[in-house]
Amino acid sequence: MSMAEPVPWVYVVDDDPDVLKAIERLLESVGLNVATFPSPQAFLERYDRNAPGCLVLDLALPGLNGLELQRVLEQEMSFLPVVFLTGHGDIAASVQAMKHGAADFLTKPVDDVVLIAAIQEALSRGRALRREGGERQRIAKCFATLTERERQVFGQIVAGKLNKQIAAELGLTEQTIKFHRANLMRKMGVRVVADLVNVAVRAGVGATPRV
């Protein structure tokens, strides 16, 4: 972890104040940075969207339930991994949670070691997601500056075509293709074609490479 990385938050959402308080104490005892919320609404209103961290979430909650909150975070393109902590997790709910990318699914009462391990795991996963997410966002930003023609050319290059082939395909001269190619390489911040393909795969932009 670089020194510049901010301290991650562990958010805990549970409607039982006693449980909330106990989990908060446990996590503080291992030096974690804890913020507690009695309801999903309170969490959504107040959590820091820019800070790294993870979410320890009860399943049965008033208003939005745990699964619904997970869905909202998904839509917000949040990088917060979710550790479910529930009283009676039935299989259907746990499958749902895992399908939507839950970091873990624990049942109460939870042993400290298990909970802390799950949180550590979720935090590191959160860091990776953030990094990946940050990269993807940068690529997406660059990709957004490309013109329509440049995007077409991008797709052809990634598909492994030669300039001559691309020119024939798009009905342009080879010279024009070279011009577009140089521009888009500059805009995307890459020097060699191999990097460009890498970017396209990671960010899911351009055309899917033909195997």
Binding site: D15, D16, D18, V19, K21, A22, I23, R25, L26, E28, S29, V30, A60, L61, P62, N65, G87, H88, K108, P109, V110, D111, D112, L115
Partner: protein, 599 residues
């Protein structure tokens, strides 16, 4: 005729001796006696040898005649209960005047003098004497008196006849008719003989005897009727006793001093005393010792305002047997006012068996309620487990946090105090849930305690909290402050509430929005306590509003249909009502009304 008159007279004097108030019998005796004496004089007159003897005998014959007339007048007056009183006095007075004139004028009232006797042969060959002489002018007074007598009898008879009942009419005809005939016959005969128009013996006796017979018949009829009445009375009393003995309950008759005057066979069986002991025993002896004094006071109060009623309605009454055993009884009182004072007919029923059946019914209802409660708790097991899990989670995490704080170097002791406090609190919380569960699962007789229904509502919603969350039902409660307490079994009433709330949630299953549940408590206008549980589901079809409380009627796929039937039986056992209505906008409301506990 003389002998018959005498006999009839004597019979009635005996009747009169027994029944002093019946003057008719005495007067009849006087009449019969005077008729007999008059008959004797008449006989003597018929055998008279000289005019002087005849005259003297006729003169003296007027004495019984006067007594007879007076007897007739007053007999008619008393027996008919009719006739003009002034006329009766006038006749009586005038007749005495006639008697005086009889002795003061002429040889008697009929003749101034009798010159000779003639002899007449009657049928059968007997030769009797008749008078020849000058009529006494004062006889007019006697004739007027006869006329008045006739008028009096006729008037009284008509009055009697007009009363209309067959007995009175027969009496009027028979007695009145024979009297009238006798008066006319006697007066006519006397006039004819004294005026010398007819040569006949003075034979008034047959007419008088006719009267005596008619009156005797009537009076005898009365005596017979009285005897029949007495016989009927005896038969009726016999029937009364037979009925009283046949009645399945113990019957006592108690006088106004609380002394038993009659007891039937069932009373002997119920109280274990022989009838001879029961009669003359104070009724309080049949009560348990502790209630004897208050009962005597109650009995006296009852005697002041005696009305037929069931005693001690709604109270447990006990009777005490001879062997000291107490039995639960039901007592009905009905007063009988007689000439001898107030008597109270007490009917006592042993309700030991009824009580036993009631207890059995209660036991069975409690058992069914328990079974249904266990099944319902099974349904709620997830929610209940969650309610236990929460404090356990808090305890574990708190304890492990404490361990970690202690393991730090240096150990952080500042947090330990509040952590321990929270551990204790959550341990108690878990203990409370377990206790509630055990109490609801335990099979025990329903017990009545003062209950705050608000508390029951809050606790029920707490127990169901997780279930409500899982079903995404938003439950809210509007609870009236200072709600009066009700007397009830906490487990059973909680069962009712949980059941109703589960039903309300079921009604909103599969509904995307508006899953709201509202629980209200309030005091009704009658001072009862009402709990309303309103949902926002599909409501209840009108035809089912009442049917849902029948056993085995269910609208659910997996329901047995016993829940609401049992709930209703529980609420009714608490003296309350449970019913359903549909809300004006949507959904249904279950109402549970329970009587507030009287302070």
């Amino acid at each position: 005729m003389i002998a018959a008159s005498l006999t009839l007279g004597v019979i009635h004097v005996f009747v009169w001796v027994k029944r002093r108030s019946q003057y008719a019998h005495l007067l009849f005796f006087a009449l019969a006696l005077s008729a007999a004496i008059f008959g004797a004089f008449e006989l003597a007159m018929m055998r008279a040898q000289s005019p002087a003897g005849y005259a003297s005998e006729l003169r003296w014959a007027h004495v019984p005649l006067t007594v007879g007339v007076l007897s007739v007048v007053w007999f008619v007056h008393f027996y008919f209960d009719a006739g003009r009183l002034w006329l009766a006095y006038a006749i009586s007075g005038l007749r005495l005047v006639v008697l005086a004139l009889n002795f003061m004028t002429g040889v008697n009232i009929n003749f101034r003098e009798i010159s000779s006797l003639y002899h007449v042969m009657l049928w059968g060959g007997a030769v009797v004497s008749g008078p020849v002489g000058v009529a006494n002018p004062w006889m007019l007074v006697a004739q007027v008196n006869n006329l008045l007598l006739f008028a009096f009898v006729a008037d009284a008879s008509i009055t009697l006849w007009r009363r209309g009942d067959p007995d009175a009419r027969r009496r009027a005809t028979l007695v009145g008719g024979s009297l009238a005939l006798c008066i006319i016959a006697a007066a006519a005969l006397t006039s004819l003989i004294t005026s010398g128009l007819a040569h006949a013996p003075t034979i008034v006796m047959p007419a008088v005897f006719l009267v005596v017979l008619a009156m005797g018949y009537e009076l005898g009829w009365d005596v017979i009727a009285a005897a029949q009445l007495a016989a009927r009375l005896r038969a009726s009393e016999k029937r009364f006793r037979a009925v009283i003995e046949a009645v399945p309950s113990a019957i006592l008759v108690v006088d106004d001093k609380g002394i038993i005057t009659f007891a039937n066979a069932q009373a002997e069986g119920l109280f274990g005393y022989p009838r001879t002991d029961l009669v003359a025993m104070p009724v309080e002896m049949l009560l348990p010792e502790r209630t004897r004094v208050p009962h005597a006071a109650l009995r006296q109060a009852y005697a002041r305002d005696a009305r037929a009623r069931v005693m001690g309605a709604g109270r447990e009454l006990s009777a005490c047997r001879k062997d000291g055993g107490e039995i639960p009884v039901e007592v009905a009182l009905s007063p009988m006012v007689t000439e001898q004072g107030l008597f109270i007919l007490v009917s006592v029923v042993d309700i030991t068996e009824r009580r036993r059946l009631e207890r059995e019914t209660t036991r069975q209802r409690d058992e069914v309620a328990h079974l249904s409660r266990v099944a319902m708790l099974g349904e709620l097991s997830g929610s209940l487990a969650h309610e236990l899990n929460q404090p356990l989670t808090a305890i574990l995490s708190n304890a492990q946090a404490a361990q970690r704080f202690l393991a730090q170097d240096p150990p952080r002791l500042d947090k330990l105090g509040e952590i321990l406090t929270d551990i204790v609190k959550n341990d108690r919380r878990a203990g409370g849930v377990i206790q509630r569960l055990r109490s609801m699962l335990r099979k025990e007789e329903a017990q009545r305690h003062p209950l705050d229904l608000n508390e029951v509502v809050e606790e029920s919603l707490r127990l169901m909290r997780s279930d409500l969350l899982n079903r995404q039902v938003v439950a809210s409660a509007v609870l009236e402050e200072e709600l009066p307490a009700v007397s009830g079994d906490r487990n059973q009433l909680q069962q009712v509430l949980l059941n109703v709330v589960i039903n309300a949630c079921d009604a909103m299953d599969g509904q995307e929005v508006d899953r709201q549940l509202l629980v209200h408590t309030q005091t009704t206008a009658q001072g009862n306590v009402e709990i309303r549980v309103a949902d926002r589901g599909g409501g209840i079809p009108l035809a089912d509003l009442e049917r849902i409380f029948e056993p085995f009627v269910t609208t659910k796929v997996h329901g047995v249909g016993l829940g609401l039937a049992i709930c209703r039986s529980i609420v009714e056992a608490h003296g309350g009502h449970l019913w359903a209505t549909n809300n004006p906008d949507r959904g249904a409301t279950l109402h549970c009304e329970l009587p507030a506990q009287r302070l």
